[in-house]
């Protein structure tokens, strides 16, 4: 009687499973879990890049909670987050609906709409800094030709943060447009034809049919934008550098961690931001699952 052939390595499900998932698990442990846990450890220390870290318990977190600059930065971050997402969704939807129609040169227009996403965020912030400059910028030069007063887009506290929002929206609007456009393109035609036959108005079709069908994509846009906007940094680097009441949470974390090198304190700020993002992310993710299940 001949012995049964030994299964080859790739035929062993258990081995194969770990072989395939192994690199990813290693990557996650080495570059995500370990740094996060190390940051958590650091947030309980007074480490300032000199000597050994000393345990300080919850002191760094107490400081975060009592720090007016932190709350101000968080408030600004939420303000930016709200307006960026609101504008990107409303404007993105309008433009996606427009681009969903057939018209001559649509390929070129769609290509042009995509360009802002391809520009490096840092170059983009420097570019807008010059374009919007009160004295030498092209926008104010044109306003001058039209007989209008120059606008201090990036040199007055009352406007600077809104200008940061504008720059951010300019860059990220195409993301919303194209995600929503992909959703519109993939919609089932029969339901829309039925609505048309029933005499539903375009507004009713939009609110009763288009919007509900796009809900999962809208939640994905919000989820991703919340995560990205909590880390908004580049538009500040090339423009105000956090001045004129524009310091956002990520800039503050950078300043404390990599200018002051107050690593313990910086870790506490960063983890606080992470907790907030995780809470909001978890809530949105729950909504996404519901929306995908058609609930």
């Amino acid at each position: 009687m001949s012995a049964a052939p030994r299964p080859r390595l790739y035929e062993n499900d258990r081995v194969m499973k770990w072989l395939l998932i192994g690199p990813l698990v290693f990557f996650l442990l080495a570059f995500m879990v370990y740094p996060t846990l190390y940051s958590l450890y650091m947030s309980f220390t007074d480490y300032v890049m000199k000597g050994a870290p000393g345990f300080v318990g919850l002191d760094n977190y107490r400081w975060v909670l009592s720090d007016e600059a932190f709350w101000a930065a968080l408030g600004r971050t939420i303000y930016v987050l709200f307006w960026c997402i609101a504008i990107e969704l409303v404007l993105g939807m309008a433009l996606a609906l427009l681009l969903n129609r057939e018209f001559p040169g649509q390929g070129i227009v769609r290509g042009l709409c995509f360009i802002p996403l391809l520009v490096s965020p840092l170059s983009m912030s420097l570019m807008w800094n010059y374009i919007l400059h009160i004295q030498f910028g092209v926008v104010n030069t044109v306003l001058g030709w039209l007989g209008l007063s120059a606008v201090p887009f990036l040199s007055t506290p009352s406007l600077a943060l809104n200008t940061i929002i504008f720059i951010t929206v300019w860059q990220w609007l195409p993301f919303s447009i194209f995600v929503l456009l992909a959703g519109l393109k993939g919609m089932p035609r029969d339901q829309f034809e039925a609505a048309q036959i029933d005499g539903a108005s375009p507004i009713r079709v939009f609110f009763r049919l288009t919007l509900p069908l796009l809900k999962p994509l809208i939640i994905i846009i919000i989820l991703l934008r919340v995560m990205w906007l909590m880390r908004l940094f580049d538009p500040l680097y090339g423009t105000t550098r956090g001045g004129l009441n524009t310091e956002l949470l990520d800039w503050m974390i950078y300043r404390v961690s990599f200018v002051f090198f107050d690593i313990g304190q910086g870790a506490a700020y960063a983890l606080f931001a992470l907790y907030l993002t995780l809470i909001v992310g978890a809530l949105l993710f729950k909504q996404l699952i519901k929306a995908m299940d058609g609930r």
Binding site: S155, T156, T240, R241
Partner: protein, 480 residues
């Protein structure tokens, strides 16, 4: 008719020139040919500031490399990045850089990571410490203290300075009509300001609307009295420091026992002067062009060159070259330089310092000596950049008349260095080992005050809190 002020500058310049001429005989005669065979041929890596200064220094690094056979590589970083990058590499003891460029205000923080130069001289220089001293003697002592000396130990050689000077439109100040109008309004002669109130008067006087006249010509745009650098950049702190120091006060004063520095204290005089300086800054902002709230040196100088401002009261001397080109941009315009009010400006410098973790401190030492030497500095200064060798700067041919664009900054710089030298030992900037961090916080406080986000009183309060915390956390000496 020369003003008494101008006469004094010319007199001091003449003295400096004569002294410089005297020193020429005593100057070091060190050149590349005097470097002995460097045994260690390991490449050295140099950290540099990106931009004009870096571009100018790179050819000298190449010359050194060719002459010694030691490969030299360099890494240029924008100013905002250098500090962070060097903290990581120096304090992390990575040895990534053999020679680092440091700003005057950072040296104290990093002294534990930099080689005392005398140690290297004793080890590698056949002439010993005397060989190094001959080079160092050419550099202004005050500048040497600020940039490179900590607790009496020399840890680097400054090679490029950005001492603040005042730059003004000489054509406006010399215009008979403007002079008469100014005298009628303020009751004294129009001349480079010696008091801050005079500067405020001049700022207000020259601020004019489109359609009004300036120098007898109708303006086709708004014109402003002063260029300021109120953005959230280090320069706003530098401007405030010049105001505070001019009054014999400090951001925080040193506390000494038996001549030894034992801590810092914000005295009542400091507190009063700080509030006065914050108020003065806000007052000057009324006469600065729109956009100054987010400006640094490029905007401030550009305003002047474009013919939009009359005075840059506090500007780095390295910018003179550009500022003086107002003569090419505005018909009939001409720039002149004067000491800043109070003659105690922020005096910055980049200096080269050898890292304690360098794999080739021998080559690092010789590179420093070469860059700081009389011959190299002379070449650099005559090439139009703001070198640090006072012997060269004091030479009789370094006058506005011989080379307006290249040398216009020199006379006021020398006057200020001399005036400021006795005070520099008391400046917080060059005594606190936490100053890299404190500098950043001063910038934020200064900017918020300048933009009106905080009142002068609130700014003082914010400074006291911040200093207490930062010095306590990062510094070695206590706040009393």
């Amino acid at each position: 008719m020369l003003s008494p002020r101008l006469k004094r500058i010319l007199a001091i310049s003449a003295v400096a020139a004569v002294a410089g001429a005297g020193q020429v005989a005593a100057k070091d005669d060190f050149t590349l040919d005097d470097i002995p065979e460097i045994e260690n041929k390991e490449p050295i890596h140099v950290a540099l500031e990106a931009g004009g200064a870096a571009d100018l220094i790179i050819p000298y690094l190449q010359k050194f490399s060719e002459a010694t056979g030691v490969p030299v590589t360099s890494e240029s970083m924008v100013f905002a990045t250098i500090y962070s990058k060097e903290v990581v590499e120096l304090q992390g003891r990575t040895g990534a850089y053999d020679v680092v460029v440091t700003e005057t205000s950072w040296t104290n923080e990093w002294r534990d990571y930099l080689y005392p130069l005398n140690e290297l001289a004793e080890k590698y220089d056949p002439e010993g410490v005397a060989g190094l001293q001959a080079v160092v003697d050419g550099i202004d002592p005050g500048l040497l203290r600020m940039a490179s000396t900590r607790d009496g130990v020399l840890v680097g050689v400054p090679y490029y300075t950005y001492t603040m000077i005042s730059i003004y439109r000489e054509d406006l100040f010399n215009d008979a009509g403007e002079q008469a109008a100014f005298k009628e309004k303020y009751g004294y002669d129009l001349a480079p300001a010696r008091e801050w109130q005079q500067l405020l008067d001049q700022a207000a006087f020259f601020t004019r609307k489109e359609g009004e006249e300036l120098r007898g010509e109708v303006l086709d745009h708004d014109f402003y009295g002063v260029s300021m650098m109120a953005g959230r950049f280090p320069h706003v702190q530098d401007e405030l420091a010049a105001m505070i120091w001019s009054k014999g006060a400090n951001w925080a004063s040193p506390v000494r026992e038996d001549g030894k520095l034992v801590g810092f204290e914000i005295t009542d005089k400091d507190r009063e002067t700080l509030e006065w300086a914050f108020t003065l800054y806000q007052d000057l902002m009324k006469y600065a062009p729109p956009g100054s709230e987010n400006a640094f040196w490029d905007f401030a100088t550009a305003q002047f060159v474009e013919g939009n401002t009359a005075i840059i009261p506090l500007m780095y001397n390295g910018l003179w070259n550009w500022a003086s080109s107002v003569a090419d941009e505005v018909p009939g315009a001409r720039a002149a330089a004067a000491p800043v009010v109070g003659e105690r400006p922020y005096t910055g410098a980049f200096h080269f310092a050898p890292s304690r973790d360098s794999g080739n401190p021998e080559a690092a030492y010789w590179l420093l000596k070469y860059i700081g030497s009389y011959a190299t500095q002379k070449e650099m200064i005559e090439g139009g950049w703001a070198g640090t060798n006072a012997d060269v700067l004091g030479e009789p041919d370094k006058t506005v008349e011989t080379n307006y664009a290249a040398y216009g900054w020199i006379p006021p710089t020398l006057v200020q260095w001399e005036a400021q030298a006795p005070d520099v030992d008391d400046y917080l900037h060059f005594n606190s080992s936490a100053f890299g961090k404190i500098y950043e916080q001063m910038t934020i406080i200064g900017h918020e005050n300048a933009t009106g986000a905080t009142t002068p009183a609130e700014s003082v309060e914010a400074w006291e809190k911040a200093f207490d915390r930062l010095q306590g956390k990062f510094g070695e000496l206590p706040v009393n």
